[in-house]
Symmetry: C2
Subunit: 313 residues, 2 copies
Amino acid sequence: MYIGIDLGGMSIKAGLVNEAYKIVATKTMPTGAERHGDEIAKDMAKLALELAEENGYKMQDIKAVGVGCPGACNSKTGICAFSANINFKDTHICEIITKELGVPAYLGNDANVAAFGEYKVINEEMESMLFVTLGTGVGGGIILNGKIYEGFNGVGAEIGHIQVDKNSENKCGCGRYGCWETEASVSALIRETKKAIEANPDCAMAKSVEGDLSRVNGRTSFDAAKAGDAVAQKIVDAFIKAVGEGVCSMINIFQPEVLLIGGAISKEGDYLLDPIRKLAETDTYKHNGVHTRIAAAQLGNDAGIIGAALLGE
Amino acid sequence: MYIGIDLGGMSIKAGLVNEAYKIVATKTMPTGAERHGDEIAKDMAKLALELAEENGYKMQDIKAVGVGCPGACNSKTGICAFSANINFKDTHICEIITKELGVPAYLGNDANVAAFGEYKVINEEMESMLFVTLGTGVGGGIILNGKIYEGFNGVGAEIGHIQVDKNSENKCGCGRYGCWETEASVSALIRETKKAIEANPDCAMAKSVEGDLSRVNGRTSFDAAKAGDAVAQKIVDAFIKAVGEGVCSMINIFQPEVLLIGGAISKEGDYLLDPIRKLAETDTYKHNGVHTRIAAAQLGNDAGIIGAALLGE
């Protein structure tokens, strides 16, 4: 049995994960992100202990505790150098957890760890896998030869922060303009949906939210497009193209065996993926039909816990 | 002693490379790129043999023969699946060379192999290195943990083919628009230099080529800018920015320990590199000052031969 911890700015989620890579129990507590980082690390250990005991396990039954954490995480040292939303400053997360619990502890960046979870559940021999997650931003993870690629300083795999539109007026959270994230995230989709509703107040999509922009979400344009609204279709097409163009760039760099697309929007399945696959047919290097398999991620919100747990496998 | 072969569309260049990673002798012959691929492979073996014998070596003295070849090369199988300019179709290059010479043979894509040569001569422990070469196109190579990264199908590391300007009117050789290659290659620099001369026929840069666009090359704008021409300075600044923006995207993905910039233009040294380093300070993720070292490549045209030779080290 393993314990995986998915640490976020709001909550610490811990899960017991078995040898079949399934979550068998979970427990959650508030992060208290403004506290000293060491306190947060100690609370992760405490939560893991409680989760184990409440489910009839002793710490000796737990092979490892893994943590997926937003920010710059060095898996070799177990140190989180910094996190935008949590008060970590060179916090020795693994050392603290191991000291508290007496079990091996592992650390990775949250998106990387989620990628690792998706990779593990596919459970196939593969040389390389890319994970692209579409949410507030465009995140990702790179798995090469079964290992997370994190760069020499632990802040690699920020694949959402390639510039795809150098003349864009859309400023990215990272400070640049026209990152893939500013064009292909769900935030970008919502931004463009709102613009289209403002410009076309009589379209079916606008009516679907009764003209109330605060009701727009990532599904608004997809739902309206499927119901036949041409304005919505244009937004959806542009969004899928923006996702696909970045996917093609990633394939040209990595030629990964598998490229997974995750985030809630990946539930659109082939409606989202087929146009991306078609674009990849024409817009990437390949030969002899040997090219990247593009598929939807499977684990949803569980990827973080499962990936973190299996860091210690 | 090793033999490295730098195969191009026009010529086959072979070099004897010693244990200190130096080329001690070379020999060249025409490629005859339209011939059957097997014949070209046999000629590479023949050239290697002649080179060895003319310099007093027997094949037993040669530890390995390596080939850097344009196109889709699978280093594991030693097969070149295809090459745009050479008549290879699933050509078993390594098998043919080993059969002819009785020594181990190795194969890699030409840009990847050049990257490997640059990596080897740095001769430092490093986790990761990216090589970006600015020429007719933007090529590159990725070295991770001392090994060439080529993707699962041998066509990876096409880092010049990330889209950086999705609305660009510049069509790339790969079929896409606005690839990094269309914005930051020497071809792009020459294109923009010509445009500027046409638009400003009285500028010093225009006078430097006597208004003759056929005399424009990759140095024209750099030379005129250094001599104080404002028109040229604008072209140079935009070019360096285009290089730098792509470099920042690559750093955000890979966070490599070292990023080398090669191609003839890298002789501009810090004049080219300092603005890129400055951009990387603001436009990439990093922490605690631990960030990628950006430097000029060292080997120039020798990188291909040296890298190929050392594939078998």
